[in-house]
């Protein structure tokens, strides 16, 4: 059956948003229910993707390809492979969680839910696009609702944070737009066909000099989104000011778009430049791992702590991508999902106590275990998952990444490992200060444990945390073929470029030799 399943999943939330436009804004319950039903429906229909996904092919699956703007060769070309499958599912899952987590938003709930649903469409679209133009459209489209979510429902410094978020991301992505157009015309010159189709452009052999600049343009777009070390300054601001659901989406999905972009676009399009840039990216990633961890350690605000821990975790992901081996890459992709789950859950947990106490300062808490035992259990599991305790999801991803890194560069691996240790320090120290110690603050004595809705938020995440930690095979087996294919693709193109270089070198050497010999003959004459 040729049901356009990806399109349905992607645009169902948009349809829901349009539906909500016509619902009376006074009727808050109804609005929340509609949004929830749409999100649940969307998640449920995205599940068959997991089960029907063919394990033995590296081809894109569930493909749809319709011409969109024929004059420019732009098509609506979507499909998923083992790399995007889980990010896609993660997005529909986390949006569902976020809508449920926003149940207590009182202010302008209608606009809130509309923004949330449009955001979901934008994010899902990014992960399925196989057309550079389409990808860019979704990539930018999703900025608008996120900007509004932070700016309207955020904390006191929300306007500063949201404008910073918008301008940073936009600044990176417009350079990518220029690069996309350049590739488009290069492809035209090589093949005579105007097309933005990624799968066709994959075959393009971009000259080395151009690769350098194009890679750099894409790098800025993605590195700001990830965010990599010196480009991360927007993240703590955005996280701290965003409403809980905004933070969850931001950490869970938005940041993954950057790393996903590297995997999907930068590596296969510019293999030579990617290899050339390894030292820079690796050192930035390591700097991010250590810097993020150290800064997280001294934070007094829980949300800021989690935000900086993201910088650190994403450093691992970047490092894993740029070692060009299967363990590193699979570890990275898995780590993207893990980070989405555990950091998302951490933001939810922080949101829960913030709702109760209206403060996020670590110093205001202490001894919460006594009042909120269930909360403490979940918090502990998630904290340990974030640290990477064996048996939980974080371990699998981090371990794979470190194995991959170790295979190529021991120094990188050793330095990155310090991040694991540091993360244990700041997370456990934070946990101790918040949950243990004496319950001194009288405000905290009134705290209630988590309710049914909050159970419903945390339980599914916790189950996934254990599942990935104990039996990650169903997930890794779905990535295997695609990741392998990607790596061989990159490797082959890289080798071709290297060969060219070699030939050029030889020719140059030969030319010099000839020069010498002619000079010689002249001397003889």
């Amino acid at each position: 059956m040729n049901l356009p399943i990806l399109t349905i999943i992607t645009f169902l939330p948009l349809f829901g948003a349009i539906w909500l436009l016509f619902v009376n804004g006074e009727n808050q319950e109804k609005i929340k229910r509609i949004a929830l039903v749409i999100a649940i429906g969307d998640f449920i229909i995205s599940l068959p993707l997991f089960f029907k996904f063919k394990l033995n092919t590296s081809e894109f699956q569930f493909i749809e390809n319709v011409s969109w703007i024929k004059e420019f060769g732009i098509s609506y070309h979507v499909g998923i492979d083992g790399i995007s499958l889980f990010l896609f599912l993660l997005t529909s899952f986390l949006t569902l969680i976020c809508i449920l987590a926003s149940w207590n938003v009182k202010d302008r709930i209608k606009e809130y839910m509309i923004a949330m649903l449009i955001l979901e469409t934008g994010m899902l679209g990014v992960f399925i696009s196989l057309d550079l133009f389409l990808f860019y459209v979704f990539w930018e489209l999703m900025l608008i609702p996120m900007y509004l979510l932070i700016g309207v429902w955020g904390g006191p410094r929300r306007i500063y944070a949201t404008i910073k978020f918008f301008i940073f991301t936009m600044a990176g992505s417009v350079l990518m737009l220029v690069a996309i157009i350049v590739i488009y015309f290069m492809n035209y010159e090589a093949t005579g066909e105007y097309t933005f189709d990624l799968l066709k452009i994959y075959n393009l052999d971009i000259p080395m000099g151009a690769q350098f600049w194009l890679f750099l343009a894409f790098f800025f777009a993605f590195a700001i989104k990830v965010p990599m070390f010196p480009f991360h300054t927007w993240l703590p601001d955005a996280h701290v000011e965003a409403p809980t659901a905004g933070s969850v989406i931001l950490a869970g999905v938005l940041l993954k778009m950057g790393t996903y972009g590297f995997v999907r676009f930068s590596l296969p399009l510019f293999p030579y430049a990617s290899h050339q840039f390894v030292p820079l990216i690796a050192w930035l990633a390591i700097a991010g791992i250590i810097y993020g961890a150290l800064v997280a350690m001294v934070q007094e605000d829980l949300k800021k702590l989690v935000a900086y821990s993201s910088v650190s975790h994403l450093g691992f992901v970047m490092l894993g991508i740029f070692v060009f081996n299967i363990q590193g890459m699979e570890g990275s992709i898995l780590q993207m999902i893990n980070h989405g789950l555990s950091t998302g859950a951490l933001f939810l947990l922080v949101g829960m106590i913030y709702e109760r106490r209206h403060t996020r300062l670590i110093a205001d808490f202490g001894g919460l275990t006594k009042k909120m035992p269930m909360f403490a259990i979940f918090f502990l599991i998630i904290t340990l998952s974030s640290i990477g305790l064996p048996g939980l999801n974080g371990f699998v991803g981090e371990f794979l990444v470190l194995v991959g890194v170790f295979k190529t560069n021991v120094l990188y691996a050793v330095l990155a490992t310090t991040g694991v240790i540091l993360s244990a320090c700041y997370m456990l120290w934070m946990f101790q200060r918040v949950m243990f110690n004496k319950l001194t603050n009288p405000e905290n004595k009134k705290l209630k444990d988590i309710n049914m809705r909050e159970w419903a938020l945390l339980l599914p995440i916790t189950i996934l945390v254990f599942w990935i930690g104990i039996y990650p095979k169903p997930i890794i087996s779905r990535m295997d073929v695609s990741v392998n294919h990607l790596l061989t693709q990159v490797d082959e193109k890289y080798k071709i470029t290297l060969n060219k270089l070699k030939i050029e070198d030889e020719e140059a050497a030969y030319a010099i030799k000839e020069d010498e010999s002619t000079e010689h003959t002249i001397e003889v004459d």
């Binding site: 860019y136 900025l143 608008i144 700016g151 404008i163 936009m170 220029v178």
Partner: protein, 483 residues
């Protein structure tokens, strides 16, 4: 001596004729049937413009030179005519209740708008420098009067006088430039100039060099590119808002039409070798426009500077040249017409007599007081900033593609960086609408069915053409037959 009357083809100028005759009839009707007709003049003018647009559409697809090669009908001019007519129609819709509210409901208002439109159409179809000059004068003189139409308002008078003095001055430059070209080539006909220059080395001739520079100054003034932009903010702020809206799209597009035709057809050689001058102008225009827009407090001034910046993007299209460049210019001008007129429509809706409420701060809290209007404004702002899926994005994408295709990558990068700068001030409007508390009560909106229709048309253009631009792109590509 027998005087030979050259053959002329009235059919080729039928849209212009319709507009001219009906404009005169409206003037007469206003004098004689003031009481019965006054209120319906707006609808009548609107219908005339729609009719003219339909007639103009039938001219698509042919190339006819008439009036001794003084005037041409080709797809390029027809496309521009449609841009003018769309903008005129929307402006008339915006004006109907606006001029009543401002107490400036005089019949000549519509006549002048129609005359200005006629001038623009003459400019787009001018195959001779003199025709272009004629059209430019008709358009400008109408606009000088329209800018000062709020007679009892000092700012409006100032706008009119400033526009007139500076405009007349700029026109002199243009005319002098034409004279220089005539002096060298012995003709004012665009095609003949082109063939003369093709056979004679042109750049070494100081007359050509001076003439071309003077033309650039003349057109540069009309499209408001830096450093000839100084009149724009004051005139835009002082003029009646509906006229500001008009000036920001129609005349600008007309000047670009003439600019393109003169530079790409008559002076292609100069255009290529001189692209560095236009390059600098484009970069200055974009950058100054955007940077100065950031600090504006009045939304009309902000939109004035934003329109300067947009002229910079459009200049990029001319620099890129070729089919790609000129079709991207066509697309962009139409896209800009929809989104910019839409933004002005919202400004008009929020205005009161004597109190324009045109400070950006006045929009605080609009998002939750009048959600639909605010969403509309948001869409126009995002579109102007060039964010998908709105038409402004496709337009910019088209222009940047044209620039990159023809090797102007640095220019394209400066262009995209500029769009990021522009995001800041467009976002600020959305920030005050959604993220600030209202500073005071909102008066009831001045929504008439006409304004609503105008909003619907501009919204449709901004959204629909943003998501499904294929047909329009196709049309624009077919309309570049300049060569």
């Amino acid at each position: 001596m027998e005087i030979v009357i050259p053959p002329f083809d009235l059919k080729s100028i039928s849209p212009i004729l319709i507009i001219t005759i009906s404009a005169m009839l409206i003037l007469v009707a206003d004098v004689f049937f003031r009481k019965t007709f006054r209120d319906s003049l707006g609808y009548i003018s609107f219908l005339i413009v729609v009719l003219t647009a339909m007639v103009a559409c039938t001219q698509m697809g042919k190339t006819v030179y008439s009036f001794s090669d003084m005037f041409v009908v080709d797809n390029f001019s027809v496309f521009f005519n449609l841009i003018f007519l769309v903008s005129t129609a929307i402006v008339i819709l915006l004006s109907v209740s606006y001029i009543k509210q401002e107490g400036i409901n005089y019949g000549e208002y519509y006549t002048l708008i129609l005359f200005a439109t006629m001038g623009m159409m003459l400019m787009a179809g001018g195959a001779d420098l003199l025709t272009i000059f004629l059209g430019l004068e008709i358009m400008s003189i109408s606009l000088y009067v329209l800018a000062g139409f709020r007679r009892d308002c000092v700012r409006s008078n100032e706008a009119s006088l400033k526009y007139f003095l500076l405009g007349a001055f700029a026109t002199c430059f243009l005319l002098y430039g034409i004279a220089m070209l005539y002096g060298t080539t012995g003709t004012t006909n665009i095609k003949e100039i082109a063939s003369f220059l093709a056979n004679n080395p042109s750049l070494s001739n100081p007359m050509i060099v001076t003439g071309t520079s003077l033309l650039i100054i003349g057109f540069g003034f009309k499209v408001a590119c830096v450093p000839f932009h100084k009149w724009t903010p004051d005139v835009y702020e002082g003029a009646p808002t509906a006229i500001t809206a008009f000036m920001s799209v129609g005349p600008k597009a007309a000047a670009f039409a003439a600019f393109t035709r003169v530079f790409l057809v008559a002076l292609p050689d100069v255009e290529q070798k001189w692209s560095i001058i236009l390059w600098v102008l484009a970069v200055l225009t974009m950058t100054v426009g955007n940077l100065v827009a950031i600090v504006q407090k009045n939304i009309k001034r902000m939109l004035a500077y934003s329109s300067i910046a947009h002229a910079g993007y459009a200049l990029m299209a001319i620099i890129a040249g070729g089919d790609f460049g000129s079709s991207s210019l066509l697309f962009y001008m139409l896209a800009y017409t929809f989104m910019n007129l839409g933004a002005f429509a919202v400004v008009i809706v929020l205005g009161r007599k004597g109190k324009e409420n045109a400070n950006i701060e006045d929009y605080s809290g609009l998002g939750f007081k009048h959600p639909l209007l605010a969403v509309t404004m948001c869409i126009f702002m995002f579109s102007l900033a060039g964010i998908p899926p709105f038409v402004g994005f496709i337009g910019k994408f088209y222009i940047f593609s044209a620039a990159i295709k023809n090797g102007f990558i640095i220019l394209a990068i400066i262009g995209v960086v500029n769009s990021v700068i522009s995001v800041y001030y467009y976002l600020r409007v959305t920030v005050v609408m959604y993220m600030k508390k209202p500073v005071r009560e909102f008066a009831p909106l001045s929504l008439s069915p006409f304004v609503i229709l105008a909003l619907i048309i501009t919204l449709w253009g901004t959204i629909h053409l943003g998501i499904f631009p294929a047909r329009l792109i196709d049309l624009a590509q077919k309309s570049t037959l300049l060569y």
